[in-house]
């Protein structure tokens, strides 16, 4: 742990390693998200972007490395993948509850209404009062423009609507950091805009966010920092202007050329 890194970092990963079946996907990635940072992780497919994001809230368990969320630190070693102590499991759950995740495929609970989807986390994980939670959930749904559909089931919604509900569900946890895993990749082109609009608003109000995305133009507009991942390593990082206007790495140059 270097002393120069301030303790206020919202989320910090250090030297993450992760292999799947002997293939090393992450080869020592370190990344710090300060409060109000909007970090975009870009890279070609297979570069480990999604794995990195999923390691941050331990949906994938890293083989080694450290994770620090708002002062709480987890030392990750491979033997934590099997049986875990109850205390460690609690700690993991606590860390996860501070990091809300928005998935590429929405992953709304299909047997619950929109409102129930948004209310479940605050009620059961944060153990907050149901009436308060409902009021807050409705406020959040209104924000993403989904209030009038709050009694409907996810199967009745379009992809863009589902993703907006998923964002409301994530917001309801009042998270330290929001993680977006390619939030628009599963959407029809005409539905991408409505979701990006919501994410942009969140960025502007100062939410700390880390997102994996293929929307280069969007990444350039909203990010405070862009990270380019290549073959499991961070090859380049910096401000969007730096990365998009003057990329240093050949790989990144090639990726950007293919996009525009």
């Amino acid at each position: 742990m270097t002393a120069s890194i301030p303790q206020t970092a919202a989320l910090q990963v250090e030297n993450l390693h992760k292999s799947f079946a002997g293939i090393e996907v992450l080869k020592g990635v370190s990344l710090t998200a300060e409060k109000h940072d909007v970090i975009s992780i870009i890279g070609s497919s297979g570069s480990g972007k999604s794995t990195l994001l999923r390691c941050m809230n331990l949906l994938e368990f890293p083989d080694s490395g450290r994770l620090r969320v708002h002062g709480e630190e987890l030392e990750l070693t491979p033997n934590h993948r099997g049986v875990r102590s109850r205390r460690f499991q609690r700690q993991i759950e606590r860390v996860r509850s501070r990091l809300a995740m928005v998935f590429q495929s929405f992953n709304l609970w299909s047997h619950m209404t929109v409102l129930e989807n948004v209310m479940l986390g605050p009620c059961l994980v944060l153990k907050r009062n149901r009436i308060e939670v409902e009021a807050q959930a409705k406020k959040l749904l209104a924000r993403v423009g989904m209030l009038e559909k709050c009694q409907m089931y996810p199967d009745c919604l379009s992809g863009g609507q589902k993703q907006r509900v998923a964002i409301a569900r994530a917001l309801a946890m009042d998270p330290e950091v929001m993680l977006f895993d390619e939030p628009t990749s599963a959407l029809d082109p005409e539905l991408v805009g409505e979701v990006l609009l919501v994410i942009r608003e969140l960025a502007e109000e100062g939410r700390t966010m880390i997102m994996v995305t293929h929307e280069m133009r969007f990444a350039r507009e909203v990010s405070s920092k862009v990270v380019y991942l290549h073959q499991g390593r961070i090859e380049e990082q910096g401000s969007p202007e730096q990365l998009f206007n003057a990329p240093q790495s050949d790989h990144l140059r090639r990726l950007l050329a293919s996009q525009y």
Partner: protein, 247 residues
Amino acid sequence: MMDILTRFSGQLLAGAGLTLQLTAIAALLACALALPLAIGRCSERGLLRWPIRLFVSFFRGTPLLAQLFLVYYGSGQFRLELSQLGLWWFFRDPYYCALLTFVLNSTAYQIEILRGGLRAVPYGQIEAGVAMGLSRCNQYRKIILPNAYRIAFPALGNEIILLLKGSAVVSVITLFDVMGQTRRIFSQTFDLSVYLWAALLYLLMTSAFVWFWHRLELCLTRHQRVRQAPSTATAPASKRVSAGVSP
């Protein structure tokens, strides 16, 4: 033909009562037992998984009648030991023996049905719960089981119907269910039509059950059908048709 029915309807109905009672109690007890065992069956720990697999393969792989004989007549071989354990009152009674057999048999089937349901829960939905910090218990309570039971629902209904019909074997260990009553009536009258009435009675019971189960299923899966008015009212006609509310 009708006179058989009028003369013996009381006995046949009493038999139907016993059939329904045995089926209902066995199905409910099996349902309660199958859930933890199905979860154990899906466990990664072999020590938990293997005994359950063995249990399932035995009770699925042997005839119900053979199981019933094993429990009822087999326990007679151990009368002394069972008496010492204070369990003889249970194994002496053909009703309890039948119930025990049915519970074990149906549990085995329901374990496999539920296992299928548990495995078919969309992984993304579980992951959404995990990512939120939901505890394992709440994941099961709110996400995994509601999904698994909905997926397993038709197959569970099927299993209960099989159990109801299979319960006819109790007539050979002196219980007077529908089949037992029918055999008795036949031995008194030698009128074959009583078997027809018995068959119709079974059909009536299963049909009523199918109707009930279907209603329950409609209620449980409303989230897959209800495309409510607010959204469809403004949707183009073509969409409204494809999203039509089912009868």
